[in-house]
């Protein structure tokens, strides 16, 4: 999908499969557990988390040793169950033996969690940023994760703890595009104060920050159900909801 190379798709899907099997339940804010997803453009079989494109087509991935989903699952379970210090050692060992595990978003998430636990916010933020970049389903036009939407929030606070309130505010502001949790506004109000109240009032600053990070909605023209064709920009109004859906 999009500009992703075809060759990485099975790799990422395998990574997702591993992650889907092992992901813990909701961890705080906004992790969605969709119950009726379908993958776009695929008629592959569903599982409880959705339909996965070519989910059964890749039983190995990685550029190093043969890394099956079973092996990856075993490693991830072991890493997940370890304390923070051991988790970092195991993750490093896993990546040495299987460099292809680099694509497993959940591995980076676990590493970020471990760094956070041992009081190293900067590498925690960097690991979580890798988790976002590697996440599957892949980040969309907003370049933000689709399912694990608390990660930008975590990155933001780790960046603050590592001494960069500006980048922290950027991450928390980005998170407001995918989450409406009140903690975000509370955090941003705090950061606005910490930064010396730039841009006047919080509302003015926040609006400016959001405007500077906003992504323009791509325009498209498609055959209509009620008319021959519809161009989005012609149908748009003061506030327009675009709903990607399928009748079930």
């Amino acid at each position: 999908m999009g500009n992703r190379s075809q060759s990485t798709v099975p790799v990422r899907i395998a990574a997702l499969l591993v992650a889907a099997l092992l992901l813990p339940g909701c961890q705080g804010m906004d992790r969605l557990e969709p119950d009726r997803f379908i993958e776009v453009g695929s008629d592959a079989a569903n599982d409880e988390r959705g339909t996965l494109l070519d989910a059964t087509s890749s039983s190995e991935f990685g550029s190093g040793g043969r890394l099956t989903e079973e092996i990856a699952g075993r490693w991830l379970r072991q890493i997940e169950g370890a304390d923070a210090a051991e988790r970092l050692q195991l993750a490093a060992q896993f990546l040495r033996e299987y460099p292809g595990a680099e694509v497993i978003s959940y591995l980076h998430e676990l590493v970020g969690d471990a760094y956070s636990e041992v009081g190293q916010p900067l590498p925690a933020a960097e690991a979580w940023e890798r988790a976002i970049a590697m996440s599957w389903p892949a980040p969309d036009v907003l370049e933000l994760p689709l399912t694990n939407v608390q990660l930008p929030y975590q990155v933001g606070w780790a960046r603050y703890e590592s001494g960069d309130a500006v980048v922290s505010a950027e991450w928390l502001t980005r998170a407001t595009f995918i989450s409406d949790r009140p903690q975000l506004e509370q955090g941003l109000r705090f950061l606005h104060s910490e930064l010396g109240a730039p841009g006047g009032s919080f509302a003015e600053w926040h609006a400016q920050e959001r405007a500077s990070m906003a992504v323009l909605a791509p325009d498209f023209e498609l055959p209509g159900f009620q008319s021959d064709s519809v161009r989005f920009s012609d149908a748009a109004s003061r506030l327009t909801l675009i709903n990607f859906w399928t009748p079930t």
Binding site: M1, G2, L32, E33, P34, D35, R36, F37, I38, E39, V40, G41, G50, T51, P137, A138, P139, D140, V141, L142, L144, L146, T147, V149, F177, I178, D180, R210, A211, A214, V215, L216, A217, P218, D219, F220, L222, P223, G224, F225, Q226, S227, S229, V230, F232, S233, A235, A236, S237, R238, L239, T240, L241, I242, N243, F244, W245, T246, P247, T248
Partner: protein, 91 residues
């Protein structure tokens, strides 16, 4: 929501990612849907937005900026979305 906020300048565009006109007709008829619907059978908009599953929803302001995204559906989701829309329209 389409009707509720229409006077405030709110509109909806449904992007059906499958070419199943009969299914869409049946759905619209059964639930009395009126919102404009387009068919994205070749994944044009899907690719532009990077959508990988449905339902995925974007809110776009009058300047064409994406102001909010929701992905997936949970019971009660529509209430949160309604609050979000009302809040954005109040600004």
């Amino acid at each position: 929501m389409h009707r509720e906020f229409a006077d405030a300048g709110f509109s909806v565009l449904a992007v059906d990612v499958r070419n199943d006109r009969s299914g869409t007709e049946a759905f619209y008829s059964e639930f009395g849907f009126e919102v404009p619907n387009v068919f994205d059978t070749r994944n044009v908009a899907v690719a532009q937005y990077g959508v990988s599953a449905t339902p995925t929803t974007y809110l776009v302001d009058e300047e064409g900026r994406i102001v909010y995204r929701r992905y997936g559906y949970l019971p009660g989701e529509e209430l949160r979305l309604r609050e979000q829309i009302a809040s954005l329209l109040e600004r």
